[in-house]
């Protein structure tokens, strides 16, 4: 049952992913991206990562996509709806780049496997907020504290970039 449902969501994810790249209208790309990110949240949920699933929705499908929505809402779309005029470099490079990516994917799917140690079986509280909190604030303390620095840098960067327009 869960596997079948997961498979259905996988198709949703692939289809929405394709729509992100292939559709002409930026707003449709955006909606597809939101659907894509939300289906990733469902994958996390199926794997037992409830907390990560919630974060995936709140931060990615929620917060970051709102930023994208703002940008696209305020674009003047008439120009963007015209067929794209790629530069000369894109015209030369797109085929080899696409082929290289495809070859890499095929190799990853069919090629030799890296032997990873089997993960320990998940405990009953796997993926719960309590467990994540426990690990985050003990074992991964430094990573956690550095995140705050990273966020401040992002904040300052945003203000500096916008500041030119604000004045």
């Amino acid at each position: 049952m869960e596997n079948l449902f997961g498979l259905a969501i996988a198709f949703v994810a692939i289809f929405s992913g394709l729509m992100v790249v292939l559709h002409r209208n930026p707003m449709v790309n955006l909606v597809s991206l939101i659907i894509n990110l939300a289906s990733a949240a469902i994958f996390f949920l199926l794997l037992g990562g409830q907390f990560i699933a919630a974060i995936q929705v709140i931060v990615y499908a929620g917060a970051i996509m709102v930023l994208f929505v703002f940008v696209i809402m305020l674009l003047n779309l008439r120009r963007e709806l015209d067929p794209p005029k790629g530069g000369r470099i894109q015209k030369i490079l797109y085929l080899p780049a696409a082929l290289a990516l495809a070859a890499g994917l095929v190799y990853a799917a069919l090629g030799p496997r890296i032997a990873l140690p089997a993960p320990p079986p998940p405990g009953p509280d796997f993926g719960s907020v309590e467990r994540v909190g426990e690990l985050l604030f003990t074992d991964h303390l430094f990573a956690f504290e550095f995140v705050s620095l990273l966020l401040v840098v992002a904040m300052v960067g945003a203000v500096v970039l916008a500041k030119r327009r604000l004045d």
Binding site: M1, N25, M27, V28, V31, I34, Q50, F51, A53, A54, I55, V57, I58, A61, G62, A63, M65, V66, V69, F70, I72, M73, L74, S128, V129, E130
Partner: protein, 342 residues
């Protein structure tokens, strides 16, 4: 397996029915209370006391011509009202309305789902709420709608932050995100989080008003400036989805306020009174309903008491007052728990 699905299906059906009727009659209550506050009568023509008015309004919605403006982007124009509606409905899947109802030889848990991430699930849905409004504003291809949608989304995200921070104090005291555990932690009147987290409560309620786009924060649809905001171009049932989701939103905010700060369905001393379990369950459900009813009344009361904010004041309040205040509240709760005050 199938038993679980049937029980879930029945619960969803009952809850859907209750919510839709509740939202319909909330419009009636709102108009009656507004009438009372403004010394007029309110709806009184359709049925006794105007009680059939919501039904008439609903039917009218179906029979009105549905106009899609020529330059609107149709797929999104159709999707947006549904996107506004569904998250506001799905929130109720995790809201506990009571503990257990022993009925027909079975014990039925009075909540549809009670996940470990409880309150985060609510916030996740709240963050999806923005899209219905934003897409409605964008796809209409109308200046007022676009401005309204933009304002609404900026307002919602600003107050979402304050709302998120305001509940952290409660979570620190409870040690769980599960909504039912938050309720069980508040046994006895003076253990209600209202008395332990008064600042958190005020911030949560104010942010809740802003999230639901209710007066004094209904700037996205400030009719004097923006006609009707993001739903200017909507008509018929597509339009009806927006007020419907607003009423669901009000109910959800009321329910969450009760759960987080007012002891949920619990009545101090009721469990000790020695009544039959069924009577206790029913009384507790009624208590939950009454507490929610008070906040729904508050929504209407405030609407006719406070004037609308100015947009810059609204943003200033969100970012410069509520956000720092809620951080101070987290800090204060941290000290309080360390010192053993709570």
């Amino acid at each position: 397996m199938s038993g679980v699905w049937i029980e879930a299906g029945v619960k969803v059906a009952v809850l859907m029915g209750l919510l839709l009727t509740g939202a319909a009659y909330l419009t009636w209550v709102e108009r009656k209370v507004s009438g009372f506050i403004q010394a007029r009568i309110g709806p009184n023509r359709v049925g006794p006391l105007g009680l059939l008015q919501p039904l008439a309004d609903g039917l009218k919605g179906f029979f009105k011509e549905d106009i899609t403006p020529k330059y609107a982007y149709r797929p999104l124009f159709l999707l947006a009202p549904a996107l506004a509606f569904v998250p506001s409905l799905a929130v109720f899947a995790v809201i506990p309305f009571g503990d257990r109802l022993p009925i027909l030889g079975r014990v039925i848990s009075l909540r549809v789902a009670d996940p470990n991430i409880g309150i985060l699930f609510v916030f996740a849905l709240a963050s999806m709420q923005v899209y219905g409004v934003a897409f409605a504003g964008w796809s209409s291809n109308n200046k007022y709608a676009l401005m309204g949608g933009l304002r609404a989304s900026a307002q919602m995200i600003s107050y979402e932050l304050a709302m998120g921070f305001s509940v952290v104090g409660v979570l620190m005291i409870t040690g769980s995100l599960r909504l039912s555990e938050i309720v069980f932690h508040q046994q006895g009147l003076f253990h209600w989080n209202l008395f332990i987290q008064p600042i958190g409560f005020v911030i949560f309620l104010v942010a809740g008003f802003a999230e639901a786009n209710r007066l004094p924060f209904d700037l996205p649809e400030a009719e004097t400036e923006l006609v009707a905001g993001y739903h200017t171009e909507y008509s018929s049932m597509k339009f009806a989805m927006f007020p419907l989701s607003e009423y669901f939103h009000m109910m959800a905010i009321s329910a969450l306020t009760v759960i987080l700060f007012f002891g949920g369905w619990q009545v101090p001393g009721l469990r000790a009174a020695g009544l039959a379990p069924l009577a206790v369950s029913i009384l507790e459900l009624a208590a939950m309903g009454l507490k929610m009813g008070f906040f729904l009344f508050l929504f209407i009361w405030v609407r006719w008491t406070l004037p609308r904010f100015r947009y810059d004041h609204l943003m200033t309040m969100g970012w410069k007052i509520l956000l720092p205040l809620s951080l101070v509240n987290v800090f204060w709760s941290g000290i309080g728990i360390l010192m053993g005050w709570f």
